[in-house]
């Protein structure tokens, strides 16, 4: 366990390093710069570039950045004057995190229930309906679904407001549905197919022969096995929901991190791009680490090493 953790820690540091380096250089390859706009004179531009060290050769910029990063300093935003990137993350992340966590929980909860219901009614109408909906859920991009939902429930029916982002619990419904649709659909299919794999296995026959009730067979003997592939999906799902958050926050006017991320790229706010990328990468790494531990808890056949 300890050597596993140490190995994973170094793996994580290496991954982060690669993410930082790649982002840094990719960002600089993209044409344009933070202070380029028609109104600024060449003089102002030079002054700004000098102030932020953008006039230095690229490798020096890189070394400076990495040096600051090592001290936990993500720099100052170019565009949101006077705020450090750390402050922006601290302010905006809770909004995104709340939405994301609700979406993750909802994906798992509804996905598991739908998948189980489908498997228990294999090839019947309910199963077909759930599989149909989940096929659509997987293939319709979130921004289309979100726009559709807004049009239907905010514009036409007026049940929720299109502008009052997350103002009341009711306002969470559409963003959460939009954000969780794909992972919910995926989980429903995953759970369905694993249950169908497990349900005919010998150990279920044993459980039945022991006199275990049908309900208990489902929630104890089958579910515990079906959880294994579900747990492995939690890692990719987190990444999914983070990236999904970008456009969901845009569409629903939610002032979270995702919206900032998109805007930071548009405005070439280098420190903010870097800071957010590193932060989100770290988040995914941490989640994956937890998943690895969890995976070994649900599946005793896997040893920590």
């Amino acid at each position: 366990m300890i050597s596993f953790t140490i190995k994973r820690f170094f793996g994580a540091v290496l991954t982060l390093f690669i993410v930082c380096t790649l982002t840094f250089f990719l960002m600089n390859i993209v044409p344009g710069g933070p202070f380029l706009s028609e109104k600024t004179s060449q003089q102002t531009l030079d002054r700004m570039n000098e102030k932020y060290g953008l006039d230095l050769p690229i490798h020096e910029q890189y070394i400076n950045y990495m040096n600051r990063l090592l001290h936990g300093d993500l720099g100052i935003s170019y565009k949101r004057q006077g705020f450090t990137v750390n402050e922006i993350i601290a302010e905006k992340f809770p909004v995104s995190a709340k939405l994301g966590i609700i979406a993750v929980i909802w994906s798992i909860f509804s996905g598991v229930i739908l998948g189980t219901a489908a498997a228990m009614n294999r090839n019947k109408l309910l199963d077909r309906a759930i599989m149909f909906i989940s096929t659509i859920g997987i293939s319709v991009p979130g921004f289309i679904l979100g726009t559709l939902l807004i049009y239907l429930f905010a514009e036409m029916l007026g049940w929720v407001s299109a502008t009052d982002a997350l103002g009341s619990p009711k306002q969470y419904i559409l963003p959460v549905i939009t954000l969780s649709m794909q992972s919910m659909s995926y989980i429903a299919r995953l759970i369905r197919s694993t249950i169908l794999d497990v349900i005919d296995s010998d150990f279920i026959k044993t459980a039945k022969a022991k006199g275990v009730s049908r309900i208990r067979i489902i929630y104890k003997h089958i579910m515990r096995n079906a959880l294994i592939p579900l747990v492995t999906y939690v890692g990719p799902m987190t990444a999914f929901i983070i990236t999904g958050g970008f456009y969901v926050e845009r569409i629903f006017n939610i002032p979270g991190l995702g919206d900032y991320f998109v805007r930071s790229v548009e405005t070439r706010d280098y420190p903010l791009i870097m800071g957010l990328t590193i932060f989100l990468a770290l988040l995914v790494i941490v989640v994956n680490f937890i998943v690895d531990i969890l995976y070994r808890v649900v599946d005793p056949r896997i040893k920590l090493q």
Binding site: K208, A209, K210, G211, H221, R224, N225, P300
Partner: protein
Amino acid sequence: MLSINDLHFSFFTPAGEVRALNGVSLDVASGEVVGIVGESGSGKSVTASVITGLTQAPGRVKSGEVMFNEIDILSTGEKAMQKIRGGEISMIFQDPMTSLNPVFTIGNQLIEAILLHTDKNHKEARAHAIHMMSQVGIPNPEIRMKQYSHELSGGMRQRVMIAMALSCEPKLLIADEPTTALDVTVQAQILDLMKTLRSETDAAVILITHDLGIVADICDTVVVMYAGTVVERGTVDEIYDNTAHPYTRGLLDCLPRLDGDTDSPLEPIEGLPVDLLNMPPGCPFASRCKHTMNICLTTPSPEFELSESHTSRCWLHTASRKAEVRA
């Protein structure tokens, strides 16, 4: 104690009706060990599934009766069957490698069975589980309790299955090819164990197997099945020494002889098992039999009683009332 009467069971598949059981009758007395033998597909496992009420989806009992200690199994509801399963009737399956749930400890699965069918509390159930494990010859049962099935060898897993099956003192134990998936030395150990347990418990046993050698070793009586019917049944001595049905003769000829008689070569039964989708009108074995007569092709043979305990379904018995069929 168990009495099956003229049981008909079919799988209604898209390809047609698979007649898995065509009038099976058999009796098991308390404490008796009955062997069911027959080629693959003869309906041995299906018979077991009907007894435990665990029949599979497109399959349905068409007619017949299964009585277990005055209980009519076929009309017993699922809730009541759950009490019987694992309590009064328990089962051991063929493949111990896959018969235990991989994500729960051995102890968890043993205790679950005990809690379901006794009034023991968790602590007592645990103690009983450990006791059962040592009874089936598992060393260090306390440690084994905390292990998962992948940490045990095939033989150990089958011992766990046996411990689990016996843990609630069943009146009937059905073992469906309990040694087929094991290698030969382990097979011998498990059979030894079953023999020992035989004398220690008073449970009746139905032992399903392909192997007539095993049957001779452990069983009191033998039921020979072919194409969903019982073609011959009798005591072990009757079946081996007074073989009546040509099919049984064929099965015995497939056995390597251990008594040094190497003159008669091993002879597999020729031909393929009958197609259960298109059952012939007469004796199902007629197409493979060396003694086929005209009547065999048109009318299935009734059951001829050769002694009080010995019956056989073969028209040959009308010709010679003699029970022996010489190959």
